[in-house]
């Protein structure tokens, strides 16, 4: 074991790169899958919360919606309002008492997904509310049902608006999966802790861990920024004419003027 800082870092990299990488892989897997499932949960909850109800609807539909919304509010409040680390222990050991033994991977997906879902539910609701009422009216006026309006007009725009928040959640999840080490999930933090513990050396292994977390989060924040750009589409458009004098009114003031394609 070398005595200097850099030497030790190289030593740990050379001898433990495999377990560190495997830990990082687990972290990424849990974060990515759970964020995806969490988003789906969030969309479902957000959509249910924004279904319009009026007095003319049949009582059965109103009753079902009323009960569903009540349960969803409880879900959101409970999972937003308690630490994920505590939830992990509570759910994992709670289900163990009930005789259900989850694999560590399934447990991780479950806990992180329902957490993300609770946050995303509010984000999606906000995203839907952020879309101008005129978009909904325009869709209704051509005969779309509420479902069609949501699917083709409101949700695509809401998704674009909440993409930065989805990115936030993904990055938070990459970092926060480390709390799953309390139920024995061997992700990056657990791997680092084991290495540090076996050598009684802390600063160097955690330097590596810091760097690895940072690399993962920066990579995903760039990736999401790129996705936002892609969803916005090109800043300019092609005129569907061969008439070169067709550039008339309305072209001087569009937002992408002067920028490259």
């Amino acid at each position: 074991m070398p005595k200097d800082y850099l030497g030790r870092i190289l030593y740990f990299l050379a001898n433990h790169w495999e377990s560190l990488l495997r830990g990082a892989g687990t972290t990424l897997l849990i974060a990515a899958v759970s964020t995806l499932i969490g988003c789906i949960i969030g969309f479902i909850v957000g959509i249910i919360q924004t279904i319009p109800v009026n007095k003319k609807d049949n009582p059965f539909k109103r009753f079902v919606l009323f009960v569903a919304r009540g349960l969803l509010v409880i879900y959101v409040e409970v999972f937003r309002g308690t630490p994920m680390m505590v939830q992990a222990v509570f759910i994992y050991y709670g289900l163990l008492y009930a005789g259900i033994k989850m694999t560590w991977l399934f447990a991780s997906f479950l806990i992180v997904s329902i957490n993300t879902g609770a946050y995303m539910a509010e984000t999606v609701r906000g995203g839907i509310l952020s879309i101008d009422e005129g978009q909904t009216e325009g869709a209704k006026a051509i005969g779309m049902t509420h479902f069609q309006t949501m699917l083709y007009v409101v949700l695509p725009q809401a998704l674009r608006n909440i993409l930065p928040q989805i990115g936030n959640n993904l990055i938070i999840n990459i970092k926060d999966t480390c709390v799953l080490s309390v139920i024995g999930v061997v992700e990056l933090f657990f791997a680092s802790k084991s290495i540090a513990g076996s050598y009684y050396v802390y600063f160097e292994p955690y330097t590596i861990t810091m760097a690895m977390y940072l690399i993962m989060t920066v990579f995903f924040s760039r990736l999401l920024r790129w996705m936002e750009k892609r969803m916005d589409g090109p800043q300019s458009y092609d005129l569907a004419t061969t008439d070169t004098l067709a550039h008339t009114s309305g072209l001087y003031n569009f937002p992408g003027k002067g920028r490259k394609k």
Binding site: G143, Y152, Y237, D238, D243
Partner: protein
């Protein structure tokens, strides 16, 4: 030819204690171009929004080919597909190009195949002079261009009646001209339209009937020459005088 499309009977609408529309009665025949004029807050827009069921009427009936669409268990979306609407604020779908805006109703509501839908959409976009801009997103278009696309979107559904809710109120004078000329052409082609507008000259030239609204009731209605040149009610005279004197 008096083929009645819409018949409105004793229509009323109130928001809380505020009665915006009271006992509105009128009918729309095929080929009618009806302009609704009146001061802001007189209930013109609310009337139009009630006809399209964007506001639920508080009372009365709206008969579409004799069938009351304010009743329960009426398929309102299917009714709206036959009654087009053009809004003051355009309400084009921001996530779609001009062409997609015109196609989505045909492909998703009318279930036409993409090819037919695209052909129809291109036809109507050409009609409103927007064919060079079919690939532009709404944010890349000027107000007048947006409104013309919105008209094409409504036309592409081939509605029996087209409702215009102050289509030029958000536009500058030059753009007002381009939108009004499109509407003039539609009127000449015999499209049935109800137009809420503050453009008096347009109302006088285009409409077959003018409805003047005042405080939530139809105060006076008649052919444009009569209503503009020889108004009978005091309120109509005062309203028109204010317009003429600027």
């Amino acid at each position: 030819m008096s083929d009645t499309i819409l018949e409105i009977r004793h229509l009323s609408k109130s928001f809380g204690a505020n009665a915006v529309l009271r006992d509105i009665d009128f009918s729309v025949n095929k080929g009618d171009v009806i302009c609704v004029i009146g001061a802001s807050g007189s209930g013109k827009s609310t009337l139009l929004r009630c006809i399209n069921m964007l506001e639920t009427p508080s009372g009365g009936e709206i008969l579409f080919h004799g069938k009351d669409i304010t009743k329960e268990r009426v398929n309102v979306p299917a009714y709206r597909a036959k009654v087009g609407m053009v809004f003051q604020s355009f309400n084009l779908f921001a996530n779609m190009t001009a062409l997609q805006n015109c196609m989505i109703g045909m492909t998703k509501v009318q279930k036409k195949d993409r090819k037919t839908a695209e052909k129809t959409a291109r036809y109507y976009l050409d009609k409103v002079g927007m064919s060079p801009y079919i690939h532009a997103k709404p944010r890349q278009l000027s107000g007048g261009q947006k409104q013309r696309v919105a008209i094409a979107r409504a036309l592409a559904m081939e509605p029996e009646v087209l409702l215009f809710d102050e289509p030029t109120s958000a536009l500058d004078p030059q753009m007002v001209g381009e939108v009004l000329s499109v509407m003039r052409n539609l009127a000449q082609e015999g499209l049935t339209m109800i137009i809420v507008t503050h453009e008096m000259a347009f109302a006088r030239d285009v409409s077959s009937r003018v409805v003047f609204m005042h405080n939530g009731v139809i105060c006076e209605e008649g052919p444009p020459q009569e209503l503009f040149m020889n108004p009978k009610k005091q309120e109509t005279k005062e309203f028109l005088a204010r317009f003429l004197n600027g």
